[in-house]
Symmetry: C2
Subunit: 199 residues, 2 copies
DNA sequence: ATAAGATTTGAACGGTCGTTCTAATTGTAT
DNA sequence: ATACAATTAGAACGACCGTTCAAATCTTAT
């Protein structure tokens, strides 16, 4: 509104942005609250004014990031007609927008016995979001006869793990160079989904 | 030989065994030298008598584990005749003997800017071992006409990432329950490798 | 028996980190 | 102008961790 020297909400957002960046780059344990303080320009005390503790901050960021990813997909999904097209589109959406490094930090937190069980559960629950998105595409393909009928849960997991595995490559390679690999995976997977002439 | 109260080699082995277990369970950063000391029953100082530091100890364990895995595979490989059989066998070998949790700890170490570049490089070099094993099978299959010719590097990466992705499931599910999933992945992959009637 | 070397311990140090607390500063309503 | 609440800073703490070191204990060769 008016020019106020204090804008707590802006500070909060800035802290969160820098925290995401740091957690992604350095992992959960190696990112200290001091690091976030230095990067964002706000004091450590101020971070605790906005967030209960480091763990809760991270879980919030992970949830928000995953929701963002899913919302972006729902927005983009309608530009594709067939389920097969959606699979290729999803592969690119995963490649370019899935925040692999951040979610790997989540595994760090989850594997720490000192982490609160609630946080761990909340992080594990995040995995159902992409799986649900994959499953929806497969279901749609089966419903409209584009894909043969099969064990949809099994297919969902197979597709999810493959895309997840491919995502690990984003640590060491350029995204652009990985496009053909992601597409190739979808192509191979589609050959199974569209399998005809067998029974 | 004779009953000696001190057996340094035995102590070293015991320390390493407990360290592997702890690194696998809790990750690299969350496993302290004190933890290893308590679990193994030897003092912290004694650990430093055998190993230069925590980082070097971990790299050694990771290398040894990976070598073990590969050696076990080479031993087992000869019981399979066709390349396709080897792929199924490899999938089971990965499921039951690939030490996923330990290698994830390696990512923790590698993503820490304070880790020595040598250690990071040594850990990254470990990834070539399974990839080489996958590639050898694919090459053999193509050589003997079992698989169609194709981009072997691409196929190797696709197979490796898929198995790697599936391995993540070992954190939350029973190994036995994952067998069919691993087999299904190989089946789908084989359909591409054996593709006939297309061109 | 003794000396020299190998093995093992446990205390101690320096550093880092998550968190808390108090005080200072700023905004807003009176 | 004053009071009160919101915001921010920074010092301080208690805990933990990787590492070092000097001393104690044990083995082996003489």
């Amino acid at each position: 509104m008016n020019k106020r020297r204090y804008d707590s909400e802006k500070a909060k957002v800035e802290i969160m942005e820098h925290a995401v960046s740091l957690f992604s780059q350095k992992g959960y344990n190696q990112t200290s609250v001091g690091d976030i303080s230095t990067a964002s320009g706000y004091s450590k005390g101020h971070i605790y004014y906005h967030f209960e503790n480091k763990e809760k901050l991270f879980v919030l960021l992970a949830q928000q990031t995953m929701q963002d990813w899913h919302n972006k997909w729902l927005q983009k999904e309608c530009i594709y007609f067939t389920a097969a097209e959606k699979l290729y589109g999803m592969a690119m959406h995963v490649l370019y927008h899935y925040q692999t490094p951040l979610l790997r930090s989540g595994q760090e937190l989850a594997s720490n016995p000192k982490s609160s069980p609630e946080s761990v559960e909340q992080l594990y629950n995040l995995a159902v979001i992409p799986m649900g998105a994959y499953r929806a595409i497969l279901q749609e393909g089966m419903d409209r006869g584009e894909f043969v009928n099969g064990n949809i849960d099994e297919w969902t997991v197979l597709l999810g793990t493959w895309l997840g595995g491919l995502c690990q490559l984003t640590n060491t390679q350029e995204l652009k160079a990985l496009e053909s690999l992601f597409n190739q995976a979808v192509t191979i997977f589609l050959r199974e989904l569209k399998k005809v002439g067998y029974k």
